[in-house]
């Protein structure tokens, strides 16, 4: 059976069909490839399950603001992380979830401690629970500094 065009009177219709078919095929394949190419694009940033994160402020920004407020805890692996500076100038990072109930603690630079306002729990700048209801010290993270001295980036790590 010969399928050549010039012998068939269906020919005009078929060539039209073929063209549309090829076009639609391309559209369909495109709609397949589009999500794949998007999938391959690097993600904007991974938060969950991450092992380390760059703090949203540098070392020189780690000081009380005009109102005496210490930089607020930022998110690290789905939990808040608080950065403190000890009296020796060492920077430490802690999981900011109070070990008593589930509140977020904050650093009080004037008192030189970490404080949970929910039940008045107090930790020292090493994360040790010193007074109030907290049963355990805060979970500590590792801190790595990178960059120009005095203006280093702060990298908090769980490993």
């Amino acid at each position: 059976m010969e399928g050549s065009c010039d012998k068939s009177d269906k020919c005009p219709r078929r060539s039209w069909l073929v063209r549309v078919l090829v076009g639609m095929n391309l559209v369909a394949i495109g709609s397949l490839l589009y999500p794949i190419t998007r999938f391959l694009r690097p993600r904007r940033g991974t938060r969950h399950g991450t092992l380390n994160v760059v703090a949203p402020f540098r070392v020189d920004q780690l000081r009380p603001d005009a109102d005496g407020e210490w930089p607020a805890p930022f998110e690290f692996a789905g939990k808040p992380c608080v950065l403190v500076r000890t009296s020796d100038g060492e920077i430490k990072a802690f999981n900011a979830i109070c070990t008593h109930t589930d509140c977020t603690v904050k650093c009080r630079p004037e008192e030189g401690d970490i404080f949970c306002s929910c039940h008045g729990g107090v930790y020292d700048l090493n994360g040790q629970n010193v007074s109030g209801p907290p049963p355990r010290p805060l979970e500590a993270y590792k801190v790595i500094l990178r960059g120009k001295p005095g203006r280093e980036e702060i990298i908090v790590s769980r490993t």
Binding site: S4, I36, R38, R43, H48, G49
Partner: protein, 423 residues
């Protein structure tokens, strides 16, 4: 008779140089010759030839989506769950790719079951296609292993405990059981090492085996051509006299319709019912309520659950595992066992029992509610019966029985639905 793979509008004399270049150097003429020679017989059961193509298409989808998933997945117990969760939410279309991978896996197994069932009904395993059948059964086992190993990878609670239950079954085997268990789990318990093992199995070992086996299976199909059911051959006076269509492009185009349909169904399923992730596995917590394996293992799971601790002094579970092992072996050996009218009758009865067993156990295990079980079971029966009817001859006793069963299943379905609505 033959048709060139290219569109007829193209003039054969003016092939573009580049195409010519590859045509010559890649031995395309051999492929083209094969393609031109390949014919597909046309008869009532021809649509079932599409199942293999659909399965192949789904396997390709699995490879593509699997490779994509592996770009973000991290196979360690600390990070597996988080990495899956992360790419489902943080990566563009990550949710889609994962859902497609999970849904395609299930569709693939479903289609393979149908492929197996129809191949059996067409008796496509007859000489000289025994090896085609055997490789097919092995491929089904490989894909079930794919499903089993892939189920654990997201490291969620359900998968963790289902894997624990599933691997524990190996341990009941006499003599080698404990060693096999250690081999499967990579330790006494399901741990991070088990995850690594399953990962290696899922992305390296099984794909290699499957590709080799699949290549062999396809070669055999190509080599022997399509099998024609006796009944059709008889009806039309010998298989030589059956009308055929060329594989390229007639059958291929019809195949493409099937692929696109599968693709559409897959996209709809993935978008409308995204695969859930569940809770992260907590190995030391107590097992959650209602742990279930994937549906295609459910019949074994449900049956083993019913077995008493000891039967005739032998551990019940061991007996169950051996039973399923034997059943698998029987299916594998069907080409050898089918030796005449009587053995065929026995096989048919066994097959019918197996299908009934599968459907009853699956429906029973899938739902907790009686009416829903009834609906699922009756619908599955209707599906299988409609298949069987299409293979039975008009006016025979078998067909009459099948129709009666269909009526019964319909009645059960109606009862189930009305119960469900009445509640």
């Amino acid at each position: 008779m033959s048709r060139a793979p290219e569109k007829p509008n193209d003039s054969p004399a003016t092939r573009p140089g580049l195409r010519d270049f590859f045509y010559d150097r890649m031995g395309m003429s051999v492929a083209a010759g094969l393609a031109a020679k390949k014919k597909v017989p046309i008869h009532r059961s021809t649509p079932f030839y599409f199942l293999g193509g659909m399965a192949l298409f789904l396997f390709v989808i699995q490879i593509v989506s699997g490779v994509l998933l592996s770009l973000y997945y991290k196979p360690s117990p600390d990070q597996a769950f988080e990495s899956v969760q992360a790419f489902m939410t943080e990566v563009d279309f990550g949710w889609l790719i994962r859902s497609v991978h999970s849904w395609a896996a299930n569709l693939l197994i479903g289609i393979l079951f149908l492929h197996l069932l129809t191949a059996y009904m067409m008796r496509a395993y007859r000489r000289p296609r025994e090896l085609t059948w055997a490789t097919g059964i092995l491929l089904l086992a490989l894909f079930m292993a794919f499903g089993f190993s892939g189920y654990l990878l997201p490291w969620n609670q359900l998968a963790f405990f289902a894997t624990r239950v599933g691997t524990a079954l190996v341990g009941v085997l006499p003599v080698v059981g404990q060693d096999l268990l250690l081999l499967a789990r990579g330790g006494e318990n399901v741990t991070g090492d088990t995850l690594s093992r399953f990962y290696a199995l899922h992305v390296a070992i099984l794909p290699l085996l499957t590709l080799a086996m699949l290549g062999f299976h396809l070669f055999l199909v190509q080599h022997h051509g399509m099998s024609v059911p006796d009944r059709e051959a008889l009806r039309l006076g010998g298989s030589e006299r059956l009308p055929t269509m060329p594989f390229v492009p007639d059958f291929l185009l019809r195949d493409a319709v099937g692929w696109y349909l599968v693709l559409g169904i897959l996209a709809a399923l993935a978008a409308l019912f995204p695969w859930e992730l569940g809770e992260k596995a907590a190995p030391f917590s107590s097992a959650p309520e209602g742990i279930k394996p994937e549906w295609y293992f459910l019949f074994m799971f449900q049956a083993l659950k019913q077995l008493p601790g000891h039967i005739l002094g032998i551990e019940g579970e061991l007996l169950g595992v051996l039973f399923f092992g034997c059943a698998g072996l029987v299916i594998f050996l069907i080409p050898v066992l089918d030796r005449g009218q009587i053995s065929r009758l026995v096989l048919n009865i066994l097959a019918a029992l197996a299908v009934v067993f599968f459907i009853v156990m699956t429906a029973w295990g899938y739902f907790d509610k009686g009416s829903l079980r009834l609906i699922l079971g009756a619908s599955l029966f209707l599906g299988v019966l409609s298949l069987a009817i299409s293979f039975s001859d008009r006016g025979t006793l078998v067909r009459r029985i099948l129709w009666m069963l269909t009526a019964l299943a319909t009645l059960l379905l109606i009862i189930g639905i009305s119960q469900e609505l009445y509640q």
